[in-house]
């Protein structure tokens, strides 16, 4: 039944209270039109990776069919066209996060690589033994481990902002962690395990007062919220294309130009140099200094197409729909017998982590999958969060703008099957 609704014309939309019509947009996502185990697919694992609209798929395919050539290195027509498209994608990303200049947009493999870049390039060249880094207890492993590696290399100390039972940073705890040795604050804009939106603007102001830089992990923020890096005033901002409906293998590091200028390259190779001599080499200008080797050109172009797509839908509308669906989903799940939501911050995005009495998340995941409902179960690469809540894992439904109230209903119905199996 859901499938026929998906294919029906825009004339009969199922609207939410925001007047947003997710099903009209869902038609742009071919993967979402399939059945799984004989049931219409209900994809609620968007925080792991989001699906791709036809326009992104087409942009990548068209690049390989019509344009493929290496960038920044040929005078022939294809190379010039590929370079232009690659750099146009960079400018789209710049506009999307409101950065001042394309020089501040470095293409990477994703959030993980972006954070490692900051740690190894900025961290290694600017931090000294005894310096301190502040992170939060709700970080993804990719915003913990790069700092641990750096801490080992340089003998730094890592301080952790604790979280409350709701999954909010403990009020007041943050400011007490600063010392004259604090150099860096590395923080999730939005938590992938809890959905919490952190007050990163205010936290950045405080960090700057203490002369510490701020690195934001925006992986879960960019698909849900409008992001303006100049307004946030963060020093670095990292995110992945694949969570914002773009290709895998491509992501972004935004950095303030003055900082990027003074940072050493972190990988050497082609494209990142100006001159190479055995007596020494000189570096290319920003952002190419940080893009050694042939980049993921098709990925960048696909990311550019994802930005176009999101701007067409409208990030404000996406954010409103996300809140509407989150409210509905929280309400429905709260009424499921024996279910407890993990992460109930007053400011959240559409991430619904939960546990059920006496039933392990893995069993929940397998059983709802048989109903066509795709959710994630496990520690969500946030083991410290699981430890904090004293649970081995959670089940997590994570929403995108193409999800509907009916998707939540399908999840709730599938959870009834879970109860049945374990009755």
């Amino acid at each position: 039944m859901r499938m026929s609704t998906v294919r029906s014309p825009r004339a009969a939309p199922r609207q939410t209270t925001t007047g947003f019509d997710p099903l009209a947009w869902r038609r742009d996502f071919p993967l979402l039109q399939q059945t799984v185990h004989g049931k219409p697919l209900v994809y609620l694992d968007n925080a792991a990776t989001a699906q791709k609209p036809q326009s992104v798929i087409d942009a990548v395919a068209r690049y390989y069919r019509e344009t493929n050539a290496n960038v920044h290195r040929g005078v022939h027509a294809l190379s010039e066209r590929a370079t232009a498209q690659y750099e146009a994608a960079r400018d789209k990303v710049r506009g999307f996060i409101h950065a001042a200049s394309v020089r501040e947009i470095v293409f990477t493999r994703g959030t993980t690589e972006s954070l490692n870049l900051v740690a190894q390039s900025y961290g290694r060249s600017h931090l000294r033994a005894g310096d301190e880094i502040i992170v939060s207890h709700m970080e993804h492993h990719s915003n913990i481990v790069p700092w641990q590696l750096l801490a080992e290399q340089l003998r730094l100390d890592i301080k952790v902002i604790p979280i409350t039972d709701e999954g909010v940073l403990v009020p007041g705890a943050y400011e007490h962690l600063f010392s004259p040795r604090t150099r860096l604050v590395a923080l999730a804009h939005v938590s992938n395990a809890l959905g919490t939106v952190n007050p990163v603007r205010d936290m950045t102001v405080l960090a700057h007062k203490h002369h510490a830089l701020v690195v934001l992990d925006g992986a879960q923020a960019v698909p849900h919220l409008p992001v303006d890096v100049q307004e946030l005033d963060c020093d670095f901002y990292a995110f992945s294309a694949h969570k914002m409906f773009g290709p895998t293998g491509i992501g972004v590091l935004y950095g303030k130009q003055a900082l990027l200028e003074e940072m050493p390259p972190w990988q050497g190779g082609g494209d990142m140099i100006r001159t190479v001599r055995f007596s020494g080499s000189t570096w290319n200008e920003l952002p190419h200094k940080f893009e050694a080797g042939t980049p993921h050109i098709a990925g960048a172009i696909g990311l550019g197409a994802a930005v176009d797509y999101l701007q067409n839908v409208g990030m404000d509308r996406i954010a409103r729909h996300d809140q509407d669906l989150l409210d509905y989903g929280s309400e429905r799940l709260r009424r499921v017998h024996g279910l407890r939501l993990v992460g109930t911050a007053p400011t959240k995005v559409g991430v619904l982590s939960f546990v059920m009495d006496g039933i392990h998340p893995h069993d929940i995941g397998t059983i709802v999958d048989q109903e066509g409902v795709a959710i994630r179960t496990g520690h969500h690469c946030a083991m410290p969060v699981m430890e904090r809540f004293g649970i081995p894992a959670t089940a997590r439904a994570s929403l995108a703008f193409y999800n509907t109230r009916e998707d939540i209903d399908a999840l709730v119905a599938a959870l009834a099957k879970v109860r049945e199996v374990f009755r």
Binding site: H360, H362, D363, T366, G378, M386, P392, A393, V421, F422
Partner: protein
């Protein structure tokens, strides 16, 4: 695929009331097991009388499949010799990985309830964890044994 082939009554029952679920103070051998992917943890205890396993117990936390598998295992290896237990490990590995076409399911008794697992690749590790722990515990501690077996 019918879910009931995975969650057979025996599995649901052993998950709800796991057998031999306790610490063993006077165990001859202990072995830890860990599944990093799902966070399943297990501590296996064996008591040996010569080369016979006179008692088995376990503790830990995990999904229904991993708890039921450990519970069923504890019932089935109690009283076996080390060599017999090792043979059983081989048969169960074949069953769980879908390599068990030649196995005599009837001879496996209630362990046959785990035969549906191989159809769910993501769950094979859950059911295998305790068996890998057993296999490690069958060797004497003198032969350098891993402090912890892992399904990775």
């Amino acid at each position: 695929m019918d879910l009931r082939e995975l969650y057979q009554d025996v599995i649901v029952d052993h998950n709800r009331s796991p057998r031999n679920f306790r610490k063993m103070a006077d165990a001859t051998r202990t072995q830890e097991g860990f599944n990093p992917l799902c966070g399943d943890k297990l501590m296996l205890y064996l008591k040996l009388d010569g080369d016979r396993i006179s008692d088995v117990s376990f503790e830990g936390s995990g999904c229904a499949i991993s708890v039921a598998s450990a519970s069923l295992m504890s019932q089935n290896v109690k009283g076996k010799t080390l060599a017999e237990a090792e043979q059983l490990f081989g048969r169960m590995r074949a069953l769980l990985t879908g390599d068990g076409q030649d196995l005599d399911l009837e001879a496996l008794g209630n362990l046959a309830a785990l035969s549906g697992v191989s159809e769910y690749p993501a769950r094979v590790k859950c059911a295998s964890l305790c068996w890998h722990a057993l296999n490690a515990a069958l060797r004497p501690p003198a032969q350098a044994r891993p402090a912890e077996v892992s399904t990775e």
